[in-house]
Symmetry: C2
Subunit: 383 residues, 2 copies
């Protein structure tokens, strides 16, 4: 095989896409910064038990492992930065009050999520720690939408769910982890016959509640229907009220609900959201409340946040043209050098044409050039 | 061991340093862009033979290896992006003329370069392909200095060397790879007794030339002395002339020479430079000409460039203070939301104080706050 063939689902990002990704990266980080989210940079490599503790089997399978020559211990390449940022909040910062953090960097996956997915997403995310109230959920959801607005994504739509519904319905029952896993899988794919089978020994109200969840998707009327068909347990009522509050705070965005959506269940402990765009099948953003994410690091404090893959986002937004450049000749002339420096200091792209390359095609669209007129270097429009 | 202990020479980057690194990253990329260098993003993981072909033993030892579950093949985590960018120039872009590329991303090393070094540098670099003349060397060196200027590094000094001097002296002799390695090692540490031993069977002019190199370090007078003491071979003359030209183009920067400096020898084929700063023992930037870097990818075209570690650079420049933020209360009030959005759109950091957290210490220095005066939200200086 040729030396330059890359592994499957691994790719170089070439100039025009790379520039666009870099611009999105800055827009997202700047948006988070204006909300008071402080940037942190967790490492690519950690001890495996630190990277995976409390995170569940799915993340374990997604994580590349290798041996540290310095210690002989197993290391993992991060497949998700969320637990790393929780570790930073819990141990390095260890602040008493509200902490807002954001991050942006590559993560690596052993397997691609779908046939077109990359194994090296560029994960951007934001997290707020230390506030249990719905205000934190509202803030991260608003921030996520503002990030997509900064990225110029058209017509985002928000899908809401809540991890507490199933928990409330099953409260007090003894359900084995294996049974719970099957139950979640059946709910995610809305498999009613399988659900019936799995819940046949449960109390009728629980069975009916779980079966009802499968049909509770669509617009705001879902919440009214849910109040009617789900048992009036406190956990159920609180979740539905929270979802209504969240939806009410979203102005100018289409909102739907899918009360059986349990993806990433191991993580979430409250309201959850996914943000979609027209023509893109997978969610561009996933987020919500995951109060237990820092528990393994000894600090079980409230947390809410979201993350997205900039490499997926760049395919969902319109191409941004590069501004035209200025062409300059190459000479050992300090006045020319000064003229070029001035233009670059103003943010202009100035491409020097090296001797012998005058007739090559420019990679940049040059609409002006530096020319010497009566001993002065001046900028002139190009034909 | 605790779950949150990181591997040796691996660290989290916390908020104030992360913000500074991000600002440097943007300054460097923007500087390269204004020179017409297009951003590319090579992957973190590649097939081992692609990552290491032609790159020598040192890079092999620095490279973490792991198995691809999808193919069963060995993968490497990049320890240096330079060969990756050469691969992109050779195969993906495959342009006829001059190509200018830049990149910025983490690399991983199995072992730290020195006791304080990180194993996860943030490598930034720029490369120019397709021009064999000294103009390309001048451009990358000028760009490197402009990058350091943008990073606000004080008093950079440039150290120049040339990989052709030793090659020219040894031309025509049969020297085994093992002998060459010992020779380079002795030159790097300026070990004269060892050099005498290694060159004892060589022609007197070669031995004297190699021994002379060890003493040829210092200011511009080194070049004059070199002309006198080195044999007048064409390769020697060309290298010395190139070094003089390079030095003449550097205005306002201290320039020194070290003609026995052979670090990274496997790489370089012409003039080389290292850039230092006061109080920093290691070079912050290393670069030069490496015409053979793309050969293994079937396209042996001229190349010059440089790279640096932003995590090292950030420690060499002054801290940049964060601009003060605006404090805002939390309310479900659309006029307040609009006022906050306006401020954020102007680039202000607005931190919302969530209910119950009014008396916490702000992580941001807030010098203004949003207050409601006669039904209007207005900005007010804080005491």
């Amino acid at each position: 095989m040729s030396a330059w063939v890359l592994p499957d689902h691994i790719a170089d990002v070439l100039p025009s896409e790379a520039r666009h990704i870099e611009e999105l990266r800055r827009d997202l980080l700047d948006t988070a910064r204006c909300y008071g989210y402080e940037l942190v940079m967790p490492p690519l490599l950690e001890h495996l038990e630190s990277l995976l503790s409390g995170s569940g089997e799915a993340l374990d399978l997604q994580t590349f492992k290798l041996v540290d020559q310095l210690s002989g211990r197993m290391l993992g390449l991060r497949a998700d930065s969320t637990p790393q940022v929780a570790r930073i909040d819990a141990h390095l910062l260890n602040r008493v009050g509200v902490t807002r953090l954001c991050y942006c960097g590559p993560v690596l996956h052993t397997r691609a999520g779908d046939p077109h997915a990359t194994r090296e997403p560029l994960q951007f995310g934001a997290e707020i720690y230390g506030h249990a109230g719905l205000e934190a959920d509202i803030e991260v959801l608003t921030l996520a939408l503002d990030c997509l607005r900064a990225a110029k994504l058209e017509q985002p739509s928000v899908d809401l769910a809540d991890a507490r519904l199933v928990k409330a319905l099953l409260a007090g029952l003894s359900v084995s982890p294996q049974q719970l896993k099957l139950l979640h899988a059946a709910l995610v794919v809305k498999d009613i016959p399988e659900l019936k089978l799995l819940t046949k020994d449960m109390p009728a109200s629980v069975q009916q509640g779980l079966l009802a969840l499968v049909k509770l998707y669509g617009d705001q009327t879902v919440l009214i229907e849910a109040e009617n068909v789900l048992p009036p347990l406190p956990g159920v009522r609180e979740a539905l009220q929270n979802l209504k509050c969240l939806a009410d705070r979203l102005k100018g965005v289409s909102v739907t609900f899918d009360l059986a959506d349990l993806r990433g269940y191991a993580y979430y402990t409250g309201a959850r959201f996914a943000i979609y765009a027209p023509g893109v099948s997978n969610a561009l953003v996933r987020g919500g409340r995951y109060d237990e994410v820092g528990a393994v690091f000894g600090r079980n404090r409230p947390a809410a946040g979201f993350s997205l893959d900039i490499k997926a986002l760049v395919n969902a937004v319109s191409f941004r043209p590069l501004k035209p450049a200025v062409r300059a000749p190459w000479r050992d002339d300090s006045r020319l050098s000064a003229a070029i420096s001035d233009l670059r200091a103003q943010g202009e792209i100035v491409v020097c044409i090296l001797p012998g390359h005058e007739s090559e095609v420019d990679e940049f669209q040059c609409d002006r050039e530096l020319v010497e007129i009566a001993g002065q270097w001046a900028i002139q429009a190009m034909n």
